[in-house]
């Protein structure tokens, strides 16, 4: 992609983000499989 002549450098915060955590997906990483909730412990009735 041709962007033309460089004009400036800088830094800007994403002030519009709604606080969602950043998540980068990677290829072939088994650690990033969909999360499954842990089973809840059985209720004990006394």
């Amino acid at each position: 992609m041709r962007l033309g002549k460089e004009q400036a450098v800088g830094y800007v915060e994403d002030t519009e983000a709604d606080g969602l955590p950043a998540q980068e997906l990677t290829i072939g990483n088994p650690d990033e499989m969909p999360l499954v909730p842990a089973p809840e412990p059985p209720l004990t009735v006394s």
């Binding site: 992609m1 962007l3 450098v9 800088g10 830094y11 997906l25 290829i27 969909p34």
Partner: protein
């Protein structure tokens, strides 16, 4: 190891805008092997990397510097003008890409026509066009992909028949964050099926022509029979 400085030597100190840039870019839609997750893949330099709604760029050639580095091509790319992104989407190799609106932030290098930057949040899908020219209401398997991810290609209501596909809203619901689906820009690119009906009568001009040819044949047959008689 010490990180190389981002600021290029001899350049005036950088800008500090108070809000992220709005930019426009193209990306391929992808779906995970199990169909549970969706994402985006770049067109050229980032074609082998899948990213979600928010992402931080990393250099595929040199992990020791932080994108965007001036003498490297790394970082996310976007264009300032929607018209430029739509023009880019006309190229043959980009026809199956989605047109996206993004919020560009983090470190950046600003150019005449766009940005190279370190952090991205995808706001909206602005266009997806079927290979036949109609708006792509759904995304079907493109027949290509990466390890763990299948490329998707936009397909219209007609071309999707008989094919497994995700409608755009299903695609966005499988992303890792909210993304709007705007009315597709390609809906207004060309008149839809302009030869299908005659505006004055509501009849197809092809059907009218066929009927007139049949009438002409009948008159010729009648004339021939009179000559023979």
């Amino acid at each position: 190891m010490a990180r190389l400085p981002f600021w290029p030597a001899g350049t005036a100190k950088g800008e500090r805008p108070d809000r992220p840039f709005t930019g426009y870019k193209l990306a391929h839609a992808v779906v995970s092997a199990d169909g549970a997750r969706t994402g985006f893949a770049g067109l050229t330099l980032g074609a082998t990397r899948v990213y979600g709604v928010t992402g931080d760029a990393c250099c595929v050639w040199n992990h020791r510097h932080a994108p965007p580095r001036r003498w490297c091509g790394c970082g996310f790319y976007c264009l300032h003008a929607l018209a430029d992104a739509r023009s880019l989407a006309c190229a043959t190799e980009n026809r199956s890409a989605l047109l996206l609106e993004v919020a560009a932030s983090g470190r950046y290098i600003r150019y005449e026509r766009g940005l190279r930057y370190s952090r991205q949040r995808i706001r909206a899908i602005l266009d997806a066009q079927c290979g036949c020219g109609r708006p792509g209401a759904a995304l079907a398997d493109a027949g290509s992909g990466l390890i763990g991810w299948r490329h998707l290609t936009p397909v219209c209501d007609t071309c999707v028949r008989g094919r497994p596909a995700l409608i755009l809203r299903d695609f966005t619901s499988r992303l890792d964050g909210p993304v709007r689906v705007e009315p597709l820009l390609s809906s207004a690119t060309l008149p839809s099926d302009p030869l299908s009906t005659d505006e004055s009568t509501g009849e197809s001009p092809i059907a009218v022509l066929t009927a007139e040819i049949a009438l002409l044949h009948a008159r010729l047959d009648d004339l021939q029979s009179r000559l023979d008689g």
